[in-house]
Amino acid sequence: MAKIRGAVVVDKERCKGCNVCVVTCPTNTLSLAREVNSKGYNFAYMENPEACIGCANCAVVCPDSVITVYKVKLQDA
């Protein structure tokens, strides 16, 4: 079991659904939602939250700075 768990928070309203974060994610955590935000973009969301390792690659490549990343180290995993 993974010793590090991460979580990603996407600002749904400001996300433009460019898909760059989804492609960059090394663990296939992210995906574009089927529903859209008020501007009509399919925003990114965590499809597999368990897979996230909090590497922040998605946030680093996000052109609109809409991603915030959190990470924890689990004690006995």
Binding site: A7, N19, V20, V23, N57, V61, V66
Partner: protein, 253 residues
């Protein structure tokens, strides 16, 4: 462990820089401008020079950059950002002055300004976004358009007999003695963005040390101008732009 337990202030690893304002960027989805803005903001925040930085924005999509970075800005006439930055730098030598330009702005109409500003070794940083077309006006051919590349004004591809060869402006500038850092980067992956950030940090530090002109080219995409999706345009850029515009540092003294 639930996701809600992870999302806590003490577990934060990455958040939007405080220099980036809350305005939604007008750039197309996946535009490299947003990524470069973010990197510039992070460097300014880390160096703690928010009140000492003056940006000069060009004509092009990034003309509205003042809406997104919470620093002082001046908007220059088409191609004249290095000339305006020169004036600001000479009046306020203790400030960090940077020009932010696109390829239509810097390599075409502003070719004389950039060459002479770099030749004089003005103490400024120049960030050059090269997406090989004029993005804002609808994807026309720029000096940096690749040979055979289809644009709005070259629908059969750029013909070098008619329009000349693509201009490698960064290689030209590397020859000039006034420059202290000349490099070509990209911003399509996390690795590339981190490297770009390192280079922009170095450029701002050079400005602080009054070493001369630092010139950073960022090979970029224009997905709406290239008529591709953001991810496809990143792939197109890697396959077609990188062989002609190889990444790397040409000069670092």
């Amino acid at each position: 462990m639930d996701v809600k337990d992870i999302i806590k202030e003490e577990n934060l690893v990455y958040k939007k820089s405080a220099i980036i304002t809350d305005n939604t960027m007008h750039y197309c989805p996946g535009c490299t401008h947003g990524t470069v803005h973010k990197v510039v903001a992070e460097v300014i925040e880390e160096m703690g020079i928010q009140d000492k930085t003056i940006g000069v924005s060009p004509v092009g999509c990034s003309v509205l950059a003042y809406n997104y970075l919470d620093i002082d800005w001046q908007q220059a006439a088409h191609g004249r950002a290095p000339a305006v930055a020169t004036a600001i730098n000479r009046l306020y030598p203790e400030k960090y002055v940077f020009a932010y330009q696109g390829d239509g702005d810097l390599a075409s109409i502003g070719c004389a300004e950039i060459i002479h500003a770099c030749n004089r070794g003005e103490n400024i940083t120049v960030i050059f976004i090269n997406n090989a077309i004029y993005g804002m006006t609808g994807g026309q051919m720029a000096p940096t358009t690749l040979e055979g590349m289809k644009t709005a004004t070259t629908p059969y591809g750029r013909d070098v007999k008619l329009a000349g060869y693509p201009l490698k402006i960064t290689e030209l500038i590397a020859q000039l003695p006034g420059t202290c850092l000349v490099t070509r980067e990209s911003a399509e992956s996390a690795v590339a963005v981190r490297k770009l950030k390192k280079m922009i940090r170095k450029a701002f530090e050079n400005t602080g040390k009054k070493k001369g002109t630092s010139f950073i080219e960022v090979v970029s995409t224009c997905n709406s101008g290239w008529k591709l999706s953001p991810v496809e345009s990143n792939t197109w850029m890697k396959e077609n732009m990188f062989p002609f515009y190889p990444l790397g540092t040409m000069k670092d003294i």
